[in-house]
């Protein structure tokens, strides 16, 4: 049994990426990965908060880390944005003693202390490195043979690092997709930006980036896209129709969380994976693949 302190993040836990949380918990069972949710966690600190008030962001982040430290397990999060910020907190506290002193003081006001020992990991890292490809393949009931998947990493899971995969040419998700029996298509933009939170304030820019990603994936033969981040998934999925409208394209690419793909391959029923939550429906593509 492998134990982890689970930090779902706002989007996966109670927001637009609920399917991510559902499917993550569902597929963690088979390879004995115990995701124990951190009680009463608060926002990870978040990039927007860092851009407004760094000390507050570090303290918000620090509270989660201090609580997790009490448990002693690695902290794992499915959300790339939470992942990058929590790691940033760990390195900032090591690198800037003046900041650490203030964070310590603030945490103390809440009766907490953080000694900097929690390792923050992404869910993909845990499946790929702690569970391993062979073990994952052994749990596959419905091989996704012939399914062409574009493995989309986005930015914050591989950068700034140093992390568990190459910052510009990562391979872990590709291998994971292959271990499920599917085909990982070559995808040159696999670690490029989806626009992130700028989809809200500068929609045009983000739509341009999303368009490039969808175009690259589909012109390389993708039937669907696998993602590792709630924001990427929302941008590529919920805004696909707006991309089509703006650029006069006709993309119809389902965008799944990698845990949803794992779940389908493991034979878990689709309701438990939140597949119906995909705006661009994955039903046909998945059915087609499973019937081959």
């Amino acid at each position: 049994m492998k134990y982890y302190t689970y930090f779902p993040g706002c989007s996966a836990s109670h927001g637009g990426a609920k399917a991510y949380d559902l499917s993550a918990r569902a597929v963690a069972k088979a390879p004995d990965v115990d995701l124990i949710e951190l009680d009463d966690w608060n926002c990870c600190g978040s990039t927007p908060y860092t851009a407004v008030d760094e000390l507050a962001s570090l303290c918000s982040s620090g509270r989660n880390l201090a609580l997790a430290e009490k448990r002693g397990f690695d902290m794992v999060t499915p959300c790339s944005a939470c992942y990058v910020i929590l790691n940033r907190t760990n390195s900032s506290l090591k690198e800037y003693p003046e900041l650490k002193a203030k964070v310590d003081e603030a945490l103390a006001a809440g009766g907490l202390e953080y000694r900097g020992t929690v390792k923050v990991r992404h869910l993909l890292d845990v499946f790929v490195n702690d569970v391993g490809y062979d073990e994952i393949t052994s749990k596959v009931q419905n091989s996704l043979t012939g399914l062409k998947v574009a493995p989309y990493y986005g930015c914050q899971i591989v950068r700034p690092g140093p992390g568990f995969d190459h910052p510009e040419f990562p391979q872990s998700l590709d291998r994971l997709v292959e271990s499920l029996g599917a085909e990982a298509i070559p995808f040159p933009l696999k670690a490029r930006c989806c626009g992130g939170s700028l989809i809200i304030s500068e929609e045009d820019i983000a739509l341009g980036l999303i368009n490039k990603l969808l175009d690259s994936a589909s012109s390389n033969g993708a039937e669907c896209i696998a993602t590792v981040c709630p924001l990427c998934q929302t941008n590529l999925d919920a805004y696909q129709s707006r991309v089509n409208k703006k650029f006069k394209t006709s993309f119809n690419l389902p965008v799944l969380f990698f845990t949803q793909l794992m779940g389908v391959a493991f034979g878990i029923e689709s309701q438990a994976l939140g597949l119906e939550k995909c705006i661009v429906s994955a039903e046909k593509v998945l059915a087609g693949c499973l019937n081959r």
Binding site: C10, K18, A51, R63, S92, V103, P160, G195
Partner: protein, 190 residues
Amino acid sequence: MKTKVLNGKNLAQEISALPGGEGINLCIQCGTCSASCPNANRMEHAPRELIALARAGMYDEILSSNSMWFCLSCYLCTVRCPRGIKITDMMHALDRVATRRQLSNARTQTPTMYKSFSDFVYSIGSIPEVGFMTWFYLLSNPLRALKMMPVALSLLKHGRLPVKARRLKPEAERQRRAILDKAEELEGIL
């Protein structure tokens, strides 16, 4: 909140004293960052130029530009910089300085968006997506909310727009507020 305020007298030095800003003196102006940035074309000053302006002391020009607000935090510049400068972190530092000086650029709504986001992080400790979006549109441009209706509706239809916000248990909430209030009291280093 009480903060150390930059007075722009020696901008490069002041920025280099901020966490994340140390790199400003190391830059050799090679342009790798600007070349790698997916948004450089939309920035008034791409990252390299921003650093050059800072070293030339062009205080108002930098802080009132839209440049750092257009940073996507994709970190491509950071991994490629041959001087190992943490450019993304520097952009965030400039965001903070601009907010403090209220020189936020009116030509983009990103500062407002970040502020709305942060208001929720501070007040309830998590982001209720509906509440956050509503708050943001009210602050920036209510008419845009109408344009976003189709997306919102499709999300709602697929059960991805929860209306209830997540709340912490009272004791945890008290602890969280105590920490953040203390942070507010301490002099921020920006």
